[in-house]
């Protein structure tokens, strides 16, 4: 739409205009409510905190907001595709491409990742008997860097420059020659900044798990969520640096005139290799933690220890290792030759074996148990058949010659939604319902939770099951319309109905959170008859929760204590020094600075790049000069515990 102002004509797309109105409207509404309830101190508390539970809540809160945004994009995509040759609003051509690009990018990097990292933050330290994450300050920094990156990608839409080369940003389409707008620069810097935050979070997780376990909590006694977190953290540590460099090189191509991925000497396929060497481990990064959540939930709600603990751990480790050896299955149609293709086809099939082991171990955990179908368990139960469908289509896709047909069709779209929604999103919901009491001291409502579950799960299958057929009938992915002769109308139409059902299910989730806060049912420390250490500490988890420090003698220590010791955990004689919690504005300040620094590159403002670059470096000096360890040593407190 165009309008006149100061004798000049301005153009603004109506979708962007509406989004501005909605954003400013809700923003002002939230400010008003915060002010009326006088909750500024709570906000300040969360912004400056370094406590793992609060940071976990921040991750989950921002992930939920981004889930709503990328979910709206999904509904827009589905509406445009509901009927053949549709002209919904502005979403054809570039606008549609932008919508699916940001939908994918946000769902993977700013929804799936923070949902799981948030749950790790909340639960893992408590599960292993740690007082906090190993580096509380760095933990806050990780979150704020993630958020800075997420805001960069999200704001691109408001600057009418959304990334538009797909979440995979295949070169040469993603190079400046073909997409000169700022959109893909937002993509590069957004992912780069949040990626650094993610790498730091992974380091923090590994150190916490390796060095902060309670006395007697051997690695072989750790809950499976902690195990999956450890494996995931290693995958992040190895895979994300490859993305960092891929983006670094792409940045040179886009901003500084090199031509690694395009032109006569450049290699577009090299981008695909780099991207998928990162990208395939990435899909395990976001599904392995969900496996961990399901293991804990299924075991708790069946009142039985997890079946085949050792093989469960070995299976996660093998999945993690194989995850690095399968990336070419995203590139079967590139033409790398039959030897490469078949080798990668077979490694890909092999992943089905450890995954199968896990599925059967979950089933046999339920066998001979007493299965209580609380909301978290419903999500876990819904996961098993859903994920198995995603798994078997995964094996079908691994068949290289068959993949020549499947590749880049809606069959693939259906497959990865079955694994990512069926695995990651259901896992994250199970985890949120399960650990919500540990975050806030009360449960989410069970009735609304069930409504959420059924609408979401049934809606999910209605959305994605028909897409297999659309793909087999020749519908490529990333198209904004199709013709009546394509004979895929009915699949798409059903799919659209399902998508709206999922949307309504998600609204039930949001409504549930609101109702539960409005009218909380306090539920004590152990609402699920838990088995692991996190249920032995108060809800919400306080700072320094383990006082006295328990001595762990077995797997599922709390369950053992309930059976044999009247619910009292044995107390350890010694314990290691706790991490130092601080409150600081520095992490949020630094991330804001990094965001501005990125913007100065996106919009090529050289003087600002220099000024902000110096400020970023100066921040490191500020950090070392205000270091809490130095302060503590200086004050002479706790002198032995430096």
């Amino acid at each position: 739409m165009t309008f006149e102002l100061f004798n000049r004509t301005f153009f603004i797309a109506t979708d962007v205009l509406l989004a501005y109105i909605a954003l400013i409207g809700t923003g002002l509404g939230v400010l008003y409510l915060v002010n009326r309830a006088n909750k500024w101190s709570v906000i300040k508390d969360y912004v400056t905190t370094t406590h793992h539970r609060k940071i976990g809540v921040l991750y989950l809160l921002s992930a939920t907001l981004f889930f709503l945004r990328a979910g709206i994009e999904a509904l827009i995509i589905r509406t445009q595709l509901a009927v053949p040759e549709n002209d919904f609003w502005v979403f054809q051509g570039d606008k549609f491409n932008e919508a699916f690009t940001t939908h994918g990018t946000i769902m993977i990097f700013f929804v799936a990742m923070p949902l799981l990292i948030g749950l790790m933050n909340v639960a893992v330290p408590l599960q292993i008997g740690a007082q906090d994450m190993a580096f509380p300050y760095m933990n806050a920094l990780s979150f704020w860097l993630f958020l800075a990156g997420a805001i960069l990608v999200n704001m691109s839409f408001f600057m009418t420059a959304s990334p538009n080369a797909g979440w995979t940003a295949y070169a040469p389409l993603s190079t400046a020659e073909f997409t000169p707008e700022a959109g893909n620069d937002y993509y590069i810097f957004g992912l780069q900044v949040s990626g650094v935050g993610t790498i730091l979070a992974a380091i923090n997780m590994i150190v916490t798990i390796v060095r902060h376990r309670a006395p007697g909590m051997k690695m072989t006694r750790m809950p499976l969520f902690a195990w999956s977190t450890l494996v995931t953290a290693f995958l992040i540590l190895i895979a994300f640096p490859v993305l960092t460099i891929a983006l670094y090189i792409l940045m040179f191509d886009r901003l500084f005139g090199t031509s690694f991925f395009s032109g006569e000497a450049g290699s577009p396929i090299y981008w695909q290799h780099l991207f998928w060497i990162f990208g395939h481990p990435e899909v395990y990064i976001i599904v392995i933690p969900a496996f961990g959540i399901f293991s804990d939930v299924i075991s708790t709600f069946s009142k039985k220890r997890v079946f085949g603990y050792t093989s469960m751990v070995v299976a996660i480790v093998i999945i993690g290792l194989l995850g690095f050896m399968v990336w070419v299955h995203h590139m079967f149609t590139v033409g790398l030759g039959p030897v490469v293709n078949t080798v990668f086809a077979i490694t890909t099939m092999l992943i089905a074996v450890p995954t199968g082991i896990k599925i059967f171990n979950w089933l046999f955990t339920m066998r001979k148990g007493v299965i209580h179908l609380g909301t978290p368990m419903l999500f876990a139960a819904g996961f098993i058949p859903t994920f198995v469908i995603g798994g078997v289509t995964g094996v079908m896709l691994a068949v290289a010659a068959a993949d020549f047909q499947f590749h880049d069709t809606y069959f693939v779209v259906a497959h990865f939604h079955y694994t990512m929604v069926g695995g990651t999103v259901l896992g994250a919901f199970a985890g949120i319902y399960y650990w919500f009491p540990k975050m806030f001291g009360f449960k989410l409502k069970d009735g609304l939770g069930k409504a959420h579950f059924w609408l979401f799960l049934i809606g999910f299958h209605i959305t994605f099951f028909p897409q297999h057929f659309a793909g087999l009938n020749g519908m490529p992915r990333r198209v904004y319309t199709y013709t009546a002769e394509d004979n895929i109308f009915i699949f798409n139409f059903i799919s659209t109905i399902g998508a709206f059902m999922m949307g309504i299910g998600t609204l039930f989730f949001v409504w549930n959170i609101y109702k539960s806060f409005k009218n909380p049912d306090r539920c004590g420390n152990d609402p699920w008859n838990g088995r692991t250490l996190e249920w032995s500490v108060p809800s919400p988890a306080p700072e320094h929760p383990f006082d006295p420090m328990p001595q762990v003698t077995t797997i599922d220590p709390l369950w053992e204590a309930k059976r044999n010791r009247g619910g009292k955990l044995p107390v350890a004689n010694t314990s290691r020094s706790a991490p130092i919690d601080v409150t600081s504005w520095q992490p949020v300040g630094f991330s804001g600075l990094i965001m501005l620094f990125s913007l100065s590159f996106i919009y090529h403002v050289t003087w600002l790049q220099i000024v902000l670059g110096i400020m970023v470096l100066a921040f490191f000096a500020l950090r070392t000069l205000t270091d809490e360890h130095t302060k503590m040593a200086r004050e002479g407190e706790d002198h032995d515990n430096i």
């Binding site: 077979i346 339920m366 880049d408």
Partner: protein
């Protein structure tokens, strides 16, 4: 009214399945691929069925009720035999699947090197957002491909700008067009008819519209058409 017609037509496809383009092959290449899809699907259905049966069985039998709700299940660590079973059986199933996978993948890639003597040569060039087909006698068409039936066709695939992917679902799987590189693909259409062709790799604004029609015709008609087209240029 028109919409209802689609609905009925599509519902029919939904029920029969066999009309889906990928599963309705018109060349040996596509038939092999369709076989692999159905074969892997059948194998995977065994796994899926077992999981679903166990899932429903355990969930219904061990669900909490008034009798068992205070019961504490016996502690059970695992069972090496069971665990070995569900490690070994998937291996066997995958080995069964791997054999045709490897052989067909090699076969479909190997034919590219050994071009049949009587093959029709067609150069395919992809560009944002259309297809150009050049025939041996210099004729060029845009978004409109014509092939003779029962004769091998060798496509030489090139891209003018960015990556595209050449795909005629009924004649065979896709192959990417990489700028600066040449790719080859050989198929032998076995039935006359008109088939859809598409770009399967996202290539920018009008990727959706980057489609072409493939008409497979009797060889004599094909030669005649080529001749007519050539005369038109001259």
């Amino acid at each position: 009214m028109k919409k209802i017609k689609w609905l009925v037509a599509s519902l029919f496809i939904f029920l029969t399945g066999c009309n889906l383009r990928v599963l309705d092959p018109k060349s040996e290449t596509a038939r092999d691929q369709s076989f692999l899809i159905q074969f892997s699907f059948a194998l995977m259905m065994i796994v899926f069925a077992i999981v679903i049966i166990l899932f429903v069985w355990f969930l219904s039998k061990y669900r909490e009720n008034d009798q068992n709700k205070d019961y504490i299940p016996a502690d059970e660590k695992g069972s090496p035999w069971l665990e070995i079973t569900w490690t070994v059986i998937p291996f066997i199933l995958l080995a069964i699947l791997a054999v045709p996978t490897v052989s067909i993948t090699f076969e479909q890639s190997a034919q590219v090197e050994s071009t049949p003597a009587n093959a029709v040569q067609i150069e395919v060039t992809g560009q944002q957002f259309s297809w150009t087909f050049s025939y041996q006698n210099g004729v060029e068409t845009v978004n409109n491909l014509r092939l003779p039936v029962d004769r091998p066709v060798e496509f030489t695939l090139r891209s003018e700008d960015i990556i595209h992917s050449f795909w005629i679902p009924k004649l065979g799987g896709k192959k990417d067009l990489i700028p600066g590189k040449t790719r080859r693909m050989i198929v032998t259409p076995e039935e006359t008819g008109t088939y859809q062709g598409k770009c399967a790799e996202f290539c920018g604004r009008e990727h959706t519209k980057m489609r072409f029609t493939t008409t497979v015709m009797e060889e004599s008609e094909y030669e005649q058409w080529l001749q007519e087209m050539k005369e038109k240029i001259e």
